[in-house]
Amino acid sequence: MYDVIIIGAGVSGAASAREISRYRVHACVLEKEEDVCCGTSKANSAIVHAGYDAENGSLMARLNVEGNKMMAGLAKDLDFEFIQNGSLVVCTEKEYLPGLEDLLQRGRKNGVEGLRIVGREELVSMEPNISDNAVAALYAPTGGIVCPFHLNIALAENACANGVEFRFNTEVEGIAPIDGGFRLQTNQGVFEARCVVNAAGVYADKIHNMVSEKKMTIIPRRGDYFLLDKMAGSHVKRTIFALPNKFGKGVLVSPTVHGNLIVGPTAIDIEDKEGVNTTREGLDEAAKKCAVTVKNVPLRQVITSFAGLRAHQEGHEFIIEELKDVPGFVDCAGIESPGLTSSPAIGCMVADLVRGILNLEEKTDFIATRKGILNPETLSIDERNALINEQPAYGNIICRCEMVTEGEILDAIHRPLGAKSLDGIKRRTRAGMGRCQAGFCSPKTMEILSRELSLDMQKITKSGGNSALVVGTNKDRM
């Protein structure tokens, strides 16, 4: 029997696992997909929110501000990309200026530092491509951007290094209380644990409702996004939000940590928890709305579009608590925006609950740091040549758009919780994430996966499950 089982290897589950691994504990993460970071955590705005949005006194507000403050240190410890580029909430109509003031006050009460309102002139000097209609903006210097994949992967890898087990392709189908804990029925057999953490994202209601009489509903709220070429990456320097007005919330326009430009998301409540399809209406809406705050967004340079689901809960509040009617069962649910930002603090809060339930002791040998996949571009030329001399694979470019070497791909495959699919490689190394969208590198990456994992090419998938990339050989059915 495990001490604790965490359901879900998204950013909340991984952060919880990492913080729980500070204690002497036998822990396991069950993930229904083939990899970490496969749900909400992989498809979002990649923003580290400052914390002026959430209601005063809410858990969301507290964890947002805490998570924001923790992010820089965590990025250093766990070696993932985080840039504090600041954010601007732009007001484009004078009549809404009081709304900007309200936001400023709310942010200050939430404990957000450095907030101030900037007038049009300063705004234009900060962001030359700001809309001609912009009248003022709330500037939050603590706002930032992060690589959501690397944040999630780093947390999971660090948890793994500290002894947490991860089981992929393992879907929880039922949970029954047993003496001293829970029995979890999965498609991969039965697991038992003294304590369960429900970090199942859009499925958190399904997991919760397996054990609790007090039913919960999580609504998948879909958002469509555009990702633009790096040539467009400096169109704005900061993350630009629109001040909500009578037409609703706008979309954000932001650089990403890798130098692309992201535009989105829309917001539409759907029923299908796997409904990550973009729609014509959604994409058109995002394209139209980004022009409200930023002019001349070069939408001709879109390299991909995608949709993500927010795990929206009616009360729009994080639910992080031990269930009153099911002792030992901890919900970590309703983690929608600013969930990514809050994740470091969510992890601490969940770990604290679990520590209390299981009466855990701290480890003395906790490994607090982790090294990410080496990016050779960060090396000097001499260092890089020394590396290539030692490991020639670092001299072989596989993805020419993002300049990813074979060495990085090998690292991604062979490190703990390594990549098993094309998307796994992509999230870890960016191979295939560039302007040709894997046109050139996918056959090469497939070959490397096949070679390194000793798998037939027909077994190589895009993202696990039934996502095989090739279905047979030439004339095999003729």
Binding site: V302, I381, S463
Partner: protein
């Protein structure tokens, strides 16, 4: 970093353009020619083009892609042209210092007296089209599928829909059929095909594959592997017409929706890029705005036939050597600009220095629409000097006109050459 080696001519890319440029450079009088090729062999994309139809102009016979490449590779070998394979060029400086990398040498620099850009092009991806829907496995650009099928013997799928009637898409419709897949339809957004007429006949008509013009994919279904797409008719602005949707069951969607010259390195070097061709803006010598940097082949503008790539690349090789030997410098003559107008989208080159041009100069261009019973006209300033009748011109087929140096010299005050389509 190791010591900087020097070459007269460094060619970026060992595909058809790079090979032809290298051979011609060598023949034009320099021994110092180096090809840098990122793949493990020379020949570029030709190596996966196993169909025939290459070389009709160059060799007066029908060759397959690998055969056509082999002839140029053999030439390069005979001429003793140096090349580095598996070598990625990371950067081209405006001073023509090239930084490259491979497994054996690590990162190293090369000083070139002249650089010839011959990196080719890439395929436009789904993302650039903004087709809504899921993002499952089974969506390939036609060229990626071509590589899997023709080089690895792997079948990407069994039931195929193809979007775009570019030549690679048409060729792949036939190839997938021959390898045992069912190609259900080829949808083309435009009211005309972007491919060569002969490919429509030989790759679609001969196999009974329907081509739906003015149609596009409006939805992609399937969460893990593709399981269907919806195709709809589009209006004259390319907008889907509600009510015309048709669902197709398929496990594969191939995209043949355009090629984009790969000019990331060129941009880094400061080369000015044409917004129309996405290739460098060049003069009569195929020289870019950066002195000593030349371009040819699909990195300059996307061609239909490799024969014309070879021809263009020869000119680039010849001109680069002339530059290195000092025969292209210190020109005092005025530049003549070539203006595309009325249906002509662009011309390559776009400027001419009369003194620097060969006796005959080929100007290549594309039209923006299908025109029937029209004239290709050329004006020297206000005077019409050419009026050539054509039964049909189409965007899918590159056009050319030849300019004679002698004739240009007889118009000493000429400032603008205009090329346009005129209807009757």
């Amino acid at each position: 970093m190791s010591k900087v080696k020097e070459y007269d001519i460094v060619i970026i890319g060992g595909g058809p353009a790079g090979l032809a440029a290298a051979a011609e450079a060598k023949r034009s009088g320099t021994d110092s020619v180096l090809i840098l090729e990122r793949d493990q062999e020379l020949g570029g994309i030709l190596n996966q083009c196993i169909h025939n139809g290459f070389g009709l102009h160059t060799f007066k016979e029908e060759l397959t892609g690998p055969e056509y490449a082999a002839r140029f590779i053999a030439q390069a070998e005979e001429l003793g042209i140096a090349c580095k394979l598996n070598t990625m060029v990371m950067d081209i400086g405006s001073d023509r210092v090239i930084t490259a990398m491979n497994r054996q040498e690590g990162m190293f620099q090369i000083q070139a007296k002249a650089v010839i850009l011959a990196m080719g092009c890439r395929e436009r991806s789904r993302g650039a089209l903004n087709i809504p829907g899921y993002r499952p496995a089974g969506i390939y650009s036609a060229g990626t599928a071509q590589r899997l099928v023709n080089r690895e013997g792997l079948l990407p799928g069994r039931e195929v829909v193809i979007l775009g009637s570019g030549d690679i898409g048409l060729i792949m419709a036939r190839r997938m059929t021959l390898e045992g897949a069912k190609v259900k339809v080829v949808a083309e957004l435009m009211p005309y095909s972007g491919g060569l007429k002969r490919n429509i006949v030989q790759c679609l008509d001969d196999y009974g594959i329907p081509l739906k013009l003015s149609h596009t994919v409006v939805e992609i279904r399937g969460k893990e592997r593709l399981n269907g797409v919806t195709i709809a008719q589009v209006d004259s602005k390319g907008k889907p017409i509600p009510g015309t949707e048709e669902d197709y069951c398929c496990d594969t969607l191939l995209l043949s929706v355009g090629l984009i010259p790969e000019n990331e390195l060129s941009r880094g070097a400061g080369v000015a890029i044409s917004p129309v061709t996405s290739g460098p803006v060049v003069n009569e010598s195929l020289e870019t705005n950066i002195e000593g940097v030349f371009a040819c082949g699909n990195v300059l503008h996307v061609h239909d036939l490799v024969d014309f790539v070879s021809e263009e690349a020869k000119a680039a090789g010849r001109n680069a050597v002339a530059y290195v030997q000092g025969r292209k410098k210190n020109v005092s003559g005025r530049e003549i600009s070539i203006c595309p107008a009325d249906g002509v989208r662009y011309t390559v080159p776009s400027t001419i220095r009369r003194e620097m041009m060969d006796d005959k100069l080929t100007v290549r261009f594309r039209v923006g629409n299908v025109y029937r019973n029209c004239f290709i006209s050329m004006y020297f300033d206000g005077e019409r000097v050419m009026h050539r009748k054509r039964p049909v011109v189409a965007p899918g087929e590159m056009e050319e006109i030849k300019l004679e140096k002698e004739k240009l010299l007889s118009y000493p005050d000429l400032t603008t050459i205009t090329v346009k389509i005129e209807e009757e």
